[in-house]
Subunit: 172 residues, 2 copies
Amino acid sequence: MKLIASARMQAVPSSDNALRLEDFLPYRLSVLANLVSGSLARVYARRFDLTVPEWRVLAVLGRYPGISAGEVAERAAMDKVTVSRAVARLIARGRLRRGTDAEDRRRSALRMTAEGRTVYQRIVPLARAYEAELLADFSAAERTSLDRLIHRLTGEAARLREPKAPAQAADD
Amino acid sequence: MKLIASARMQAVPSSDNALRLEDFLPYRLSVLANLVSGSLARVYARRFDLTVPEWRVLAVLGRYPGISAGEVAERAAMDKVTVSRAVARLIARGRLRRGTDAEDRRRSALRMTAEGRTVYQRIVPLARAYEAELLADFSAAERTSLDRLIHRLTGEAARLREPKAPAQAADD
DNA sequence: GGAAATTAGTTTCATATGAAACTAATTGCA
DNA sequence: TGCAATTAGTTTCATATGAAACTAATTTCC
């Protein structure tokens, strides 16, 4: 691969008006998350013919068997359309079955089949191993620190997403 | 919005075989990055009619005017197809112009137009303000810590993606 | 009871994505 | 030189995404 920072290319001095993308937190988080998701997906995607949304549905149902599609969507922070499609595909492959909630027949009650559980139980150790490798060089204190920083950032980002008070009339 | 953890729903005890998605680092990073990207994009997407890839192209060209599309892709960690399309759209809207590299006529030499620069210079302060809000509650020590943790994680994830790539000092 | 409003989930539609095939220009090397 | 291999960038194609419209079941409220 070619190196990109050759001597002839000179960067604009990062003054007030030039932003260093490589130092910009939203960009860095995006790159990191994509790298991690991508490399983790390599572990299971082909081997188990599973997409990321499908894996997430299984992961949630592994902890909360019998919940509805909407609850899966909330737990996994996924769109309901994405969940609907992942569930449909998992059912088509015999990895999930859909019961109907006795009290509310609009709701589904999703459970893994024996086959789905097998897949799930084979992936979980791989996922844990991946995470362990990712954090192999981090001390306990660093892990705690990382945990708290992510937690706080997530809270902040959620807060910033919801506009607080409409300061101006909506023009957009 | 409805609460999801009602009394009747009991989680499988998080033993060896059930993975807690909400504690799983790849999942948490993905949720965080999506939240941040989404809330930041709200700041500029509609107001400037700009997609995330387009904003990134501008951000890179703001620092490295005159580089080629391929160099933009490397700098922004974007796919070359995505860059190609973002560049085409930016040119169509008069925000970029494409010169040809004198030495290698396959290469483009991308530069913002005055109009592009105006957009860029209006977004940069907004982007900085967003980042500042996100980090408002973080001390200098915490920011340093966050910076280093992200840096190391990114390096680890890159290493895990390429199983046998030699350790390389990428400056990002 | 029953019409209107609400909710769970699916389908449609328009757009975004990236791998692979492709075009055009350049470089390697006989 | 000239032709094969390489490289920059675009287009094609197959798939992924999510907003909005839709269907079906339920709840609200008169």
